[in-house]
């Protein structure tokens, strides 16, 4: 009853008048958070139920999102948000469980590999404990199971297996009617994520043919090669899904093209680890995308974002042009910038930046 009232337009309007904010329900968050973090309204809270070690550097986090979370389709991702040393960090991960687990038990899983130097993945491995609560967005992404069923080939590398796990689980449960091949590349046999789940799937679902290839066990690295595709029957009619490091995805695309697989049959997804940014004048500049204005311009050298925007004919709000007044602060949705006052390099994700003192380092996307 209360939920129904609180969802009405009038109630929301009243909330805005009284709380001076667009999400009035979150006004109480600072207080309720200390009582029960699952009551937070600003994002969808999710409790960590269990943490399972998959390999030496990969863990699966079993989460229970608050009931208002709206679910997902196999192969989609979510953003999680969490405060690390006082700073809210947002990162994207693929859901590794089948939507059935959410529908039946209200749980989801994220399978996350520790990235060398990665702030959030290391924090999750080292500091996140069972019983803790993190924030969740709604699921997104168009890496989806073919409907109606078509033969499929998955080529996965390392932690790129995670969205595929979700899809395979779902396909097996739905008794997917076409043949499915998985080529899974790992550094060594110890690095296989969810080995038990994969072997169990292959055993109970005959349509799946599973091939695990270790790349770094011999003297020479053993990467994907053309002969790996030979056993895959009817390759030209399969939908192909690529998920893994860029090197693997590029190699796979080339080999598939040579074998006559069309571009539109190939689907790929992956989140590359953040590029190591260096404070080198030659590396400054890059393509700047202003999403609200639907505009894209290139930049060179140490031109700041405010100058770039103005040169492109935009008039973003600004003030002192010297990094003092924050009039020009706005959301950066992706890309790396260097603060010209401090020389500090930003993270790659979504955050607030001061346009007048931020210099792009590679492509940057702004909410302007």
């Amino acid at each position: 009853m209360l939920a129904r009232i609180s969802n009405t337009k009038a109630f929301h309007w009243l909330g805005r008048q009284l709380m001076n904010r667009d999400n009035p329900a979150a006004w109480l968050d600072p207080l309720t958070e200390t009582l029960n973090p699952m009551w937070v309204q600003e994002y969808t809270p999710a409790r960590v139920e269990r943490i399972i070690a998959e390999t030496g550097d990969t863990k699966t986090f079993v989460l229970t999102p608050a009931k208002r979370w709206t679910g997902f389709q196999a192969g989609q991702h979510v953003n999680i948000c969490t405060d690390v040393n006082g700073v809210r960090r947002t990162r994207t991960f693929s859901l590794s469980s089948s939507p059935l687990l959410w529908e039946l038990q209200g749980q989801i899983t994220l399978t996350i590999k520790r990235l060398p130097g990665g702030l959030v993945t290391n924090w999750m491995h080292d500091s996140l404990e069972e019983g803790d609560v993190i924030g969740l967005t709604e699921a997104f992404g168009d890496f989806q199971i073919p409907q109606p069923a078509k033969p499929a080939l998955y080529i996965a590398g390392g932690s790129g297996i995670t969205p595929i796990l979700s899809q395979l689980e779902t396909m097996a449960a739905e008794n997917y009617r076409a043949s499915v091949a998985l080529l899974y590349f790992v550094r060594t046999q110890d690095d296989v994520i969810a080995r038990e789940a994969l072997t169990a799937l292959a055993a109970r679902w005959p349509a799946l043919s599973l091939t695990i290839i270790a790349t770094h066990e011999g003297k020479e690295p053993r990467y994907l090669k053309d002969s790996d595709l030979t056993p895959v029957t009817g390759l030209q009619v399969r939908e192909v899904y690529l998920c893994g490091p860029k090197g693997l995805m590029d190699l796979a695309s080339d080999l598939l093209n040579q074998r006559g697989v069309k571009e539109q049959q190939i689907h790929s997804t992956f989140f590359a680890p953040p590029a190591q940014a260096q404070l080198d004048g030659a590396q400054l500049g890059g393509e700047v995308t202003f999403t609200t204005s639907n505009l894209m311009v290139g930049s060179e050298g140490d031109a700041n974002l405010l100058d770039i925007a103005e040169a492109a004919g935009l008039k973003p709000q600004h003030g002192c042009r010297m990094g003092i007044c924050h009039q020009c602060s706005c959301r950066k949705t992706s890309g790396t910038v260097v603060n010209r006052l401090t020389g500090k390099v930003s993270g790659p994700g979504e955050e607030t930046v001061q346009l007048c003192v931020s210099v792009p380092q590679g492509p940057v996307v702004l909410d302007v």
């Binding site: 009243l14 008048q17 009284l18 001076n20 904010r21 999400n23 979150a26 006004w27 109480l28 968050d29 600072p30 207080l31 200390t34 600003e42 405060d83 040393n85 006082g86 700073v87 809210r88 960090r89 947002t90 709000q317 003030g319 002192c320 010297m322 003092i324 007044c325 924050h326 009039q327 602060s329 706005c330 401090t342 979504e350 955050e351 607030t352 001061q354």
Partner: protein, 363 residues
């Protein structure tokens, strides 16, 4: 104004930047915990005040409810809103503490405040003719402005401005003085007036219509308490702000001397144009740490609760460069503000004669 050559200004900039960099490198969980603790206190006081108010027919409850709501508004405006809008907590990347989207509990809209305060006042601090906060265009506080007969009654203006401070601040961007001088047209201000009506209307609706009507049988009591809470906040906010720039020794500047200024010169102007007052921990919290106005003006986007921690370093820099550091007890600083308002209400001839006499007495 204290004069420094370019090398000295560069040196000053380096010294102050070093203090700033040290704090920036250390920002983290402690600062996040601090502001969230203040926000929890604010929510508790506001809820407490609103819940107690209808029982205000019991006099001690009325006092407690009004004080609780008044202090909540003070905390929200000064330690949370003002500081969040300066971008002091933008590094936390928390959308509810974002400088560009935060909306505060007062008649002035955040948009307007960010223009008039963050940009105009903090960039052109105490430059007569450019910093419209200097005297708020209703008070004459230095001889840079020519005396006119109506200035003799400016103490009344001061009392009115303090009493209705949130509405004064809300209408600040209307630039009435430029309208009367016909430098701008009223029609240029229509977008601003719409914005003001929306935000001011929202505030008035909340405190003077919605909550009184919600508890209709005791509406007059709730209305009186809410008016009281706003009045407490108005008087306190105006007093703190006046102590920040209008004390005896806070300097003013001309447009010419600031043309094309360096960052070092900007720093120097912030140091000499601002004034602090001393007091206990809660006096500082309730002033939003504007009691450390000098530190705030030098580093407007560092979390304010850091100002007490860096104050000694800032004082050492001032000493090194032989720049005065203006501070004193709250009573003393406020005393000089009142005397400044009174003195400059007099014609210059009379004022200088009186001041001369006082100096003679002092000798």
């Amino acid at each position: 104004m204290k004069k420094l050559n370019d090398d000295q200004l560069n040196e000053l900039q380096k010294d102050l930047d070093a203090i700033r960099d040290e704090v920036l490198a250390d920002l983290g969980e402690r600062d996040a915990n601090y502001i969230r603790k203040i926000i929890r206190l604010h929510r508790t006081l506001e809820i407490g005040g609103r819940v107690m108010m209808p029982f205000g027919f019991i006099p001690p409850v009325f006092v407690a409810a009004t004080a609780s709501l008044g202090i909540a508004k003070i905390l929200e405006n000064m330690e949370i809103g003002h500081n969040v809008m300066h971008g002091q907590y933008d590094w936390m990347n928390d959308p509810s503490l974002n400088s560009q989207t935060y909306e505060w509990d007062t008649a002035c809209s955040s948009e307007s405040w960010r223009r008039t305060h963050n940009y105009e006042h903090h960039t052109y601090t105490n430059i007569i003719g450019k910093d419209r906060d200097y005297g708020y265009a209703v008070l004459r506080l230095s001889d840079d402005e020519r005396w006119k007969p109506w200035h003799s009654l400016q103490f009344i203006n001061y009392v009115l401005l303090s009493t209705l401070f949130q509405w004064g601040v809300g209408l600040h961007e209307l630039e009435t003085e430029k309208l009367t001088r016909r430098e701008i047209r009223l029609r240029d201000k229509i977008p601003f007036l719409k914005d003001f009506a929306r935000k001011g209307g929202r505030q008035a609706f909340k405190d003077y219509v919605f909550f009184p009507l919600l508890t209709l049988p005791v509406a007059p009591i709730v209305l009186a308490g809410n008016v009281g809470a706003n009045l407490i906040r108005n008087l306190w906010a105006s007093t703190v702000i006046f102590c920040g720039h209008f004390t005896q020794d806070a300097e003013t500047f001309s447009e010419e001397e600031c043309e094309g200024e360096s960052k070092g010169h900007w720093y120097l102007r912030q140091l000499t144009g601002s004034s602090n007052f001393t007091g206990g921990k809660w006096l500082h919290v309730l002033s939003g740490h504007l009691s450390y106005q000098v530190e705030h003006h030098v580093f407007p986007d560092l979390p304010a609760h850091r100002y007490p921690e860096i104050s000694e370093k800032v004082q050492a820099v001032c000493k090194k460069h032989d720049i005065p550091y203006n501070t004193g007890t709250f009573a003393k600083q406020y005393g000089t503000v009142l005397s400044r308002i009174a003195r400059y209400s007099l014609p210059d001839a009379l004022r200088t004669r009186l001041e001369g006499k006082r100096e003679l007495q002092a000798i």
